[in-house]
């Protein structure tokens, strides 16, 4: 077939213009601007002088930066693997159900994912309220001393990780369910003919076949949780924000509360590099392990 090449170029250009304009303006340009800004001492709005790598060398001596890095890593550790494990367990349970029952139970698990973060915050702030929270009644019944959860450094991150898992788990459950449905039923029939027990079937059939989905879930979670801000910020209000700093929170604090645009940009660049490096590594790893398994 003869292609009208020139016309095709023109049509492509017109179709791509909205996308290119938007990405150029709010993606490519801000990314370059972020790197440039990180070498200056500019305030949030306005010009600054070139200061070389000073903003970066400062971070090495910055205790708050350490806190932010440590808390982010801690939060990732508390949320990624546990979140994926919980989602897998729930998906296995839900996949046993059928029809309307399955739809209903899945909806109960999935509904939190749909909620805005501030609604999630209100619900849990109320549930864990020191004076009236229903969680505290449960604590009382169990004979555990009440804790002002979000006002203590010990409980803050674990509680936020727990709530985050509750909030976002529905997404991962869906992925696992899709993966479980893709496993052919005949394999299970063969396994049961071989007299394989429930645990053996899971270990020898389900788990290996589900590994690509598990890897995908872990990847998505990892990249997502490194960028945490909303929950930490909301639960910190009225508490001890400096103890609860995570990377994005620290960018926000430096830029919008201390008016240090350049220094904030340096933190942003560090987070940017970490996320990109982890994504690339993760992609390579899952590709290798994926090709090994399949």
């Amino acid at each position: 077939m003869i292609r009208d090449t020139k016309n095709e170029w023109l049509v492509a250009l017109i179709l791509l213009t909205p996308f290119l304009a938007v990405y150029g303006l709010i993606f490519v340009y801000p990314t370059i601007d972020m790197f440039l800004l990180s070498f200056t001492d500019a305030p949030l709005i306005g010009e600054g002088d070139y200061v070389g790598i000073e903003n970066y060398t400062r971070l090495g001596r910055d205790r708050r930066f350490d806190t932010a890095m440590w808390n982010t890593a801690y939060f990732v550790a508390l949320s990624v693997v546990p979140g994926t494990a919980v989602a897998l367990a729930i998906a296995l349970g839900v996949s046993r159900l059928t029809g309307r029952m399955q739809a209903l139970i899945l909806a109960l698990f999935f509904l939190p994912y749909i909620l805005p973060v501030s609604v999630v915050y209100r619900l849990w702030d109320w549930t864990m309220n020191f004076q009236f929270g229903i969680a505290m009644h449960v604590f009382d019944m169990l004979g555990i001393a009440r804790v002002p959860v979000f006002k203590t450094t010990t409980w803050f991150m674990p509680a936020v990780a727990f709530i985050t898992i509750w909030w976002t788990c529905g997404f991962n459950i869906l992925l696992f369910l899709a993966g479980l449905r893709a496993i052919p039923q005949e394999i299970y029939e063969a396994a049961s003919l071989d007299n394989a027990g429930r645990w053996t079937t899971f270990r020898k059939v389900t788990w290996p076949l589900l590994w690509p989905i598990t890897a995908l879930n872990l990847t998505i979670q990892l990249i997502l949780q490194m960028k945490i801000f909303d929950q930490v910020y909301l639960f910190s209000v009225g508490g001890r924000p400096n103890d609860n700093l995570v990377m994005v929170y620290y960018i926000f604090q430096r830029a919008f509360q201390s008016n240090h645009g350049g220094r904030a940009a340096a933190i942003a660049v560090v987070l940017f590099v970490i996320v990109v490096v982890v994504s690339v590594l993760n992609f390579q790893l899952t590709r290798f392990s994926g090709s090994g398994k399949r």
Binding site: V11, F19, L25, I26, L44, Y121, H137, K227
Partner: protein, 280 residues
Amino acid sequence: MNPVTARRFNVAGLAITLLTVVLAVLWAFPMYWGVVSSLKPDNEVVRPYIELWPDTLTFEHYVFALTQTQIGYWYMNSIATALGVMVLTVGSSIFAGYAISQLRFPFRTALWWFILASFMVPTQVLIINHFVLMANMGLLNTWAGIILPQLIHPVIIIVYKQFFDQVPKDFREAAIMDNASEWRILFKVYIPMNWGVTTALSIVTFIWAWNAFLWPFLAVTKTELMTITVGITQTNDSFGVYYASELAAAVLAGFPVALAYLLFQRRVTEAITLSAGIKG
């Protein structure tokens, strides 16, 4: 399988099912508790025991939230900006996805790699530069300022490209034989064939935009221009009795997306699996 082990397995299976159902109920409980508490009068809200249903049902907190806060404005801002993000994202992604999937032009492969790569850039790190840019353009405290930085959704383009790739080539060739223009092919063949995908992606884009927090929180300082997700966090009262009103406001903020989900449950879950790049 001999009958003894079969029975043992069924008992275990039943236990797993039961556990799943119990866990699901517990999972949904905080949401139930939030709604129920918002329907209790103040003196009942703070009772030191668990009361699953109010003695007296009251809507006073909803009346309070609707009349004493600027929630009406927040609703309007949320609807306008979420619709804006939805239409612009889905629209530009359909166009870009079609061009990359069906048309041949220079740098096509490079552009595709760029879109795939942009997937891993954390947009949260761009808040400073977005803020400066929007300030320079005079767009802070405007709907456009809330919408613009939220338009980076490479995943939608990726999904469209994959779907357009799957449309059989015959359709396109037949249309070209009939002298149909590219526009006709796109609007009369490719888009109608993928209505299901478009509906699904539009709903999730709307939900994402409605739920966005960080950027709308930075872009707006005037209370009446806030989106509802940001607005309801601004009424911070530490008196216990105000909790019910704040819960009522939270229920109002979560209601549209919860409703969208319940109405389009299958579409929403379909879009989620699509956006993760799985064909299940």
